[in-house]
Structures are given as C-alpha cells and as structure tokens.
C-alpha cells in the first residue's frame, strides 16, 4: 500500500495502542479504496502502476506528482509508484514513456516544458508528443510572475519597457536555463514590446531567483511560490503575472494583460499522459480515475498548500491546447533563434 496520510500522521515512538489504531485506519482505508475503485477495463489494473516524473525529486512539481500518484492509487486500488527520471530538460523521462509498453501501466507526469516547450526548442527530438503520447488530462498549474530588483527602474511593465528602451541590451534577465519556459517568456515579452533583455541563464529557477536577489541580474520570472516571500518582504517587485487573471496567491500584482500586453502569457502546467497506442478501454479507466482525483476536495486543498492551482482540463480539450502552446513557443523560439541540441 502507498503510504497514506493517516498512517503518516502517526508521530514519534510507536506505542502499542497507537500502532493498533494505525492498523485499523489502514484497514478501513483499504476497504474504502476498494469500494471506490472503478472497473471498466477487465482486470486493469492488476499490478502496480508507474508514474514517470521527468524532473528531479524535491520541487513543487515532484510534490504535486506524488500527491497525484497516491490519490490515483487510492481510486484504482493499486499502488502508483513515482519514478523520477530527470535529464535533458525532461527528454529522458518522456522518451522512457514513449518507448514503454502501451498497456497503461506506465504514465508520464509531464510539465509544460515536456509537452510544449521542448518540442518548440529542440528540433531533432526522437519523438513527437502530439503523435506518440495520449494526454489523459492537464491537472495543475502555477502562474508565472515577472519580478524586478527594487531600484532598477522596472516597478511596472510600462517602467520596465521605458528603461529597456532607454538602455537597450543593458537590463538583464535571470532565466531558469537556456530554452526554459522563463527564457521563452522573457523573449515573448521582448517580441511583443519591442525590447531586448540581456539573458543570463542559471541552473534552474531557484538559482535564477538568488541571482537576481544578489544583483547578478535585474529581472527574473518564476512560479509564484518561489518569488512570493521576496516580493512580500520588498526584496523584489512584482512586475506582472503572465496569466489571463490575477493570482489568488498574489492579488496585488496586475497581469500583463491589464498592463496592455494580453499576448504575453505563460504558465507552468502539468499533465498526465500514456503511450499513444494504449487500448481505449484502459485509457478510459485511467481517464475516469483521473477525473475522480481532480474532483476531490482534498486533492485541491493539498495542491493549494504546495502553491499549485487545480487545472482539471480533460483529454478532449488538452490535445488541442498543447498544439496551440507548441505553436506559440515555436514562433518565439524561431524569432529569438533559440534551439537546443538533444
């Protein structure tokens, strides 16, 4: 059995009585999860499933994946084991799922990088996510916030554009890495506003934030949880949110759309997919179970704790959505001449 919250809540040294209580709790939960399981495809799933997470352990996305895996496991009545296969901005893990047996036992927990950015910036990928993967749905997202260091003259988008135009190429932007989503977001802003920012790539979003705070760069962008405390404490200024609506986590920061640039939009979102050749009945079982997870109140509440928002986009809408996203980022990558090797 997957470790469940109740079992885990057991604190410290195990007294006999507490242990017995835990056993009961586990039994009750096991019974409950059996009742709740749905049987569509005959006999599926008959063994544990594997959720491949193409990112390293530890970040909010990994926590989100683990949360989804345990909720999905409860509904399917089988363990869903998280396997981190990081490397080459997610290409390693994605390829592992593309090449896996299409029996529904290997799932991919992919991010916007995996589904939309990589296809746009890596011309010679050995697979096509549109053709080789079948999306079950998009589960969760975080809004991206654009931030500046106080005193660089970029407290609002208008100020940022004015400063960038007055000193072309001097305003620097700390990105989470070459060809990463924040790099593309900054380039998209550059294209729309007709400005050019000096790119300073870092190894990931965390180091990029530190880079901006320690004055190695003037601007950065990241998921809201990474920057929220720095904006709150005044070490960083929230310039704009790259989403259609303001974020409940940061209601004071206006969107780019409000500031006149509705086209500058990017989110970190996360979806789950299987190999394209997975049989339809198995796919439907997974689809129904995923919908159940997304509909549960507990899942939504825990997601919000780790700074994520529920996205809940089903298979039908998800497929055209990622095609649109790939097109958007391909346009940016082409205009800014961003291409990666692998």
């Amino acid at each position: 059995m997957q470790r469940r919250d109740d079992e885990a809540r057991e604190p410290g040294p195990l007294a006999g009585r507490a242990l017995r209580l835990v056993c009961y709790a586990v039994l009750v939960m096991a019974a409950a999860s059996n009742l709740g399981s749905i049987v569509l495809a005959q006999g599926f799933p008959s063994r544990p499933l594997k959720l491949v997470v193409p990112m390293a352990q530890g970040g909010p996305a990994d926590s989100g994946a683990r949360l989804f895996a345990s909720s999905l496991g409860d509904i399917l009545g089988q363990n869903v084991i998280v396997e981190n296969r990081s490397g080459a901005s997610g290409v390693v893990g994605t390829e592992a799922v593309v090449k896996s047996a299409p029996d529904g036992y290997t799932l991919l927990f992919g991010s916007s990088s995996v589904f939309a950015v990589n296809p746009a910036v890596i011309p010679n990928l050995r697979f096509d996510v549109r053709r080789d993967l079948k999306l079950i749905g998009l589960l969760m997202q975080t809004d991206l916030v654009f931030a500046s260091r106080p005193g660089v003259g970029a407290n609002t988008l208008a100020e940022l554009i004015k400063t960038a135009k007055a000193h072309p190429g001097k305003l620097s932007f700390a990105s989470s890495g070459n060809g990463g989503i924040t790099h593309l977001l900054a380039e998209l802003l550059g294209l729309e506003a007709g400005i050019s920012l000096l790119q300073i790539p870092f190894r990931g979003a965390g180091p990029a934030i530190i880079g901006m705070l320690s004055s190695d760069a003037d601007l950065t962008a990241s998921g809201i949880p990474g920057l929220a405390q720095h904006i709150k404490s005044g070490k960083a200024v929230g310039v704009g949110i790259a989403s259609p609506a303001r974020s409940p986590l940061m209601p004071d920061v206006p969107t780019f759309a409000e500031q006149g640039y509705p086209g500058v939009e990017a989110q970190n979102w996360y979806g789950v997919a299987v190999a394209a050749a997975t049989p339809a009945d198995i796919f439907e079982t997974l689809d129904a179970a995923t919908s159940k997870v997304l509909a549960s109140a507990g899942f939504k509440a825990t997601l919000e704790k780790i700074g994520m928002e529920l996205m809940a986009m089903g298979a039908k809408e998800a497929a055209p959505y990622i095609v649109r996203e790939i097109d958007k980022w391909s346009r940016v990558a082409k205009a800014a001449n961003i291409r990666l090797d692998p």
């Binding site: 885990a8 405390q229 720095h230 990666l340």
Partner: protein
C-alpha cells in the same frame, strides 16, 4: 547575550517535547541509515518522506527532516572510513585519511573522532546561528558571481595541495577532472558538449557513479589483484578510543575545521561543497608533518568532519534569514516549510520565533542524539571489518550498483559506475590520486558558470574580479597559494643546479 539565552530557552521548550524528540530520533536514525548506504542521499530521502510530514506539526516536520540531513552527513563518513566509499561529496575527503587509519587498525578511533568532532562543530554552528544569523546573512549577500568564481579558483588550486604525491600528477588529475566536469549542456550557451547522442549525458555526468567508482570499487579491484596474504585491507581492529596523542592532535584540527566550515557553509551555492576540502587543505598546509597526510593523519579526519558538520548547520542561516536555500537539500526544506504554511525569510524570526528557535534547538539536540546513536554503533560498524572479504566485496558491489541506479533510475548510471571503476583502477596503477580529480570534476562546471556570468554582467570587462574587494582578496589568497606550491620546487631545482 541574555536575549540569545532567552530565545534558546523558548526553542528548547518547543523541541523538548516527547513527540518532537521522537521525531528527531527517527530522523537521525533514518539519516544515518541512508548515509551508510552508498548512493541513496538525503535529497532523495527527504523528497520521498515529504508527504509523511504533511500531517505533522510544522516544527515536528522540520525537526525530522533536519535530523535526516545531519544523520546522512554523519552516516556518509562511516562508510568512507570503513570501506573507502564516500556516500556524499562531503565525505570524499574523509576517505583520504579515514580509510588509511582503518587500515592501520584505527577505524574505531577515526569514527569516534569524527563523531565527537562533528558534535563540537555542530554545537558551535548552532550557537553561531543563534547569535549572528542576521549579520552572517548580510555577509553571504555580498557574494555574487565574481566572488564565487574566485572562491572556486581558490578551491581548485587548493586541490593540488590535497595530493600527497607528485605535484605534476595532481595538476594533471585536476585538469582531467575539469574535462569530465565539462560533459553536458553548457549553462551559458545551451550547447551540449561531449554528449555523444546519449540523453543521460546532457545534464553532465552524475557525481555518485564517479565518486563510488573511483574510490570504492577501484579500491576493491586493486586489492583483488594481490595475493590474499598480501592484501592491504582494513581488517585489524584496534582500540575503539583515540589515544592521548591522537586526541591532542585532533582538538586543534577540530577547532580550525569548525571555523572554516562555518564560514563556507553560509554561502549559498557551492560553499558547502568546499568546506571539507578547504579544511583538509588548511590542515595539510599548517601541519608540522604534512607527509603523514594521505597515510592516516588524525587531523585529516578531524578537520574535514568538523568543517562538514559546521557547514551543515550554518547553511541554514541563508535559508532561515533570507529565504535563500544554499544547497539542494535546503531547497527541499523550503518546499517542506511552504507546505506547512511557513514562508522562510527575514520575517520568520519575528513572526514565528517559536519555530525559528525550535529548529535551532533541535539542531543541537539532533547532534547530541547522533553521538548517542553512533558511539555504541561504532563497535558494531568496526565488526563489519571482520566479515571475510569474499562475502563483503560482493555485498558492497551490489549495494553500490543499487544505490547508483536509484539516484536516477537509469541503467546508464550503472554503466558509468563500471567505467569509472575501471578508470579508478587505472589511476591506482599509475599512482595518480583521485581526490584532485574529483574536486576538479565538482568545481569545474561551477567555476566556468560563474566566470562566464561575471563576464556577461561586466559586459566583457575582466577587471570586475579585482574591482570587487571580496573577490580581489580571494584571488590574492589564490595567488599566494600558487607561490607556496611553486616556490619549494624552485628551491629544489636550484639546489640541484648549484
């Protein structure tokens, strides 16, 4: 001063509950266990245990996670001493003299010194954290990419001092390490170097297969090619306690290691990696008998172990005061805090003093607990050396393969482990030391990244390195170190010439 004690009292009040003590114990035990198993590091363990902490109180969750972190730091040195297997980059240095001590039958003594040195350093680190956290955080804030570049350069030059043999070979090994460190995607330009179309190589070669292969498995192989009776193994088990002479030499080394570790630990990004290397280098430079280093010098175990643990404590300073994680483990701790609804950062001390001081107090408790757990275990660990090597070797081999595989769930990693084991064997045969190689491998990419970033920031003006006072000071120290290495050679040549 009164205020500090009052704050610490608040903290101890929070941490000294049966539940929190229990969580601290569980954390330390788990940490020791994963530290002993090669390959399974604290990052993976904390990430996997994170969901368990959702249901705990915020303080309890953080206490347990912090316990895992120190436990792993400590457990890593146990295998480093006993079987020459570094579990973490920080325990690589412990291998150098710790394993040699074990070969001389001083394994118990080495482990005891490591435990007590770590405890002392941990306590000092905790006090520093309690007293000077905000001031130290200001110092760390001064570090930008030019300073990091200077620091990494200093580390690389110091790597040459690490070697106990030929200077030329040491330089060659550093350069070879740099070359291996270059594999993968270049952060600044996005170009892949030496990728050979293998996607697993695009993020560079993983540290675990390199360290485990070069140190542990290469050592096993070089032992197997000798006849059984000639094997150079750590099978003698002497007294578990350090002798008076060993204690006399260890104490000042622990003090110096604590200072070095505390200072480097507060730097976000790379400082912690350097702390044990830097402490070792310092000891070797100021020692009256540098020739003993690499052959089982007590200082070579005491100083890096103290530095490593002091650094582990002070690396909480940037996290708790600025909200800046200084290591990947700290980044995960931020995640854990946010799940609990706590924003780490400047406001934490003011808004949640109970929590801030509770964590500080629990660090101290954790250190004491580690010693309590580990001192009786030393006898048990040392007994492992009595296991016949025809049984121990295969077990180590399997554990190494499993541990390496689990760092990335890829067979490529096991293949790399095999390659680096063979490479390590070649190094042993050629009489080349692996520590400088490993330091070049770890520091090279960091140094390059910071060099190129500095140049971008300064728009191509190299003067940025000397215009900034901290960077200029470190570069001057580096230059001094180069002179120290070069001058004796000159003197010798001149003696020969005249």
């Amino acid at each position: 001063m009164d205020e500090i004690f009052q704050n610490l009292a608040t903290g101890f009040g929070g941490a000294f509950t049966p539940v929190n003590l229990g969580l601290c114990l569980i954390g330390c035990l788990l940490g020791t266990l994963i530290g002993v198993l090669p390959g399974i590091g604290p990052i993976a363990t904390i990430a996997m245990l994170l969901p368990i902490t959702y249901g705990l109180s915020p303080l309890g969750a953080l206490i347990m996670l912090a316990g895992i972190y120190y436990g792993a730091q400590y457990g890593g040195s146990t295998t480093a001493v006993l079987v020459n297997l570094p579990g973490e980059s920080s325990s690589v240095v412990t291998c150098l003299d710790g394993y040699q001590m074990a070969k001389k039958g001083r394994a118990g003594s080495a482990l005891t010194i490591a435990a007590l040195g770590s405890l002392f350093a941990g306590c000092v680190g905790t006090l520093l954290l309690a007293a000077f956290a905000p001031i130290l955080a200001k110092f760390a804030e001064q570090f930008r990419s030019p300073e990091y570049f200077a620091l990494m350069l200093f580390g690389l030059i110091a790597a040459v001092v690490l070697a106990s043999g030929s200077v030329v070979k040491a330089i060659a090994m550093v350069v070879l390490g740099l070359l291996f460190g270059l594999v993968g995607t270049d952060v600044s330009s996005g170009v892949t170097r030496y990728g050979f179309g293998v996607p697993e190589l695009y993020d560079g070669i993983d540290f675990v297969p390199v360290a485990v292969g070069l140190f542990g498995l290469a050592e096993i192989m070089s032992n197997l090619d000798k006849r059984e009776e000639n094997r150079d193994l750590a099978s003698k088990v002497g007294s578990l306690w350090p002798t008076r002479e060993e204690t006399r030499r260890a104490i000042p080394a622990v003090l110096r290691g604590t200072v070095v570790g505390s200072l480097l630990g507060i730097l976000p990004g790379g400082g912690a990696v350097l702390s044990s290397f830097a402490a070792y280098t310092l000891e070797k430079k100021i020692s009256k008998h540098p020739e003993e280093f690499g052959k089982g010098a007590v200082e070579g175990v005491a100083a890096p172990e103290a530095a490593n643990n002091a650094g582990a404590q002070t690396s909480f300073i940037p996290l708790l005061t600025l909200g800046i994680p200084s290591t990947p483990v700290m980044a995960i701790m931020v995640g854990a805090m946010m799940i609990q609804g706590i924003a780490p950062g400047t406001a934490l001390i003011k808004e949640r003093p109970d929590l801030f001081w509770g964590i500080v107090a629990s660090m101290w408790i954790g250190n004491v607990m580690l010693v309590i757990i580990n001192l009786p275990l030393i006898g048990l660990w040392v007994k492992l050396l009595h296991v016949p090597y025809r049984i121990l070797f295969p077990i180590i081999l399997v554990l190494c393969c499993v541990g390496t595989y689990s760092t990335g769930n890829a067979t490529t990693l096991v293949v790399m482990l095999a390659i680096f084991s063979v490479l390590g064997y070649v190094f042993v045969k050629l009489g080349c030391e692996t520590a400088p190689f490993l330091l070049g491998f770890v520091l090279g990419p960091l140094m390059e990244e910071n060099l190129r970033r500095s140049m971008v920031i300064s728009f191509g003006d190299p003067l940025i390195f000397v215009q900034r006072p901290i960077s200029a000071t470190i570069l001057a120290m580096t230059f001094g170190l180069v002179l120290l290495i070069v001058l004796p050679q000159f003197r010798k040549t001149r003696e020969v010439a005249f």
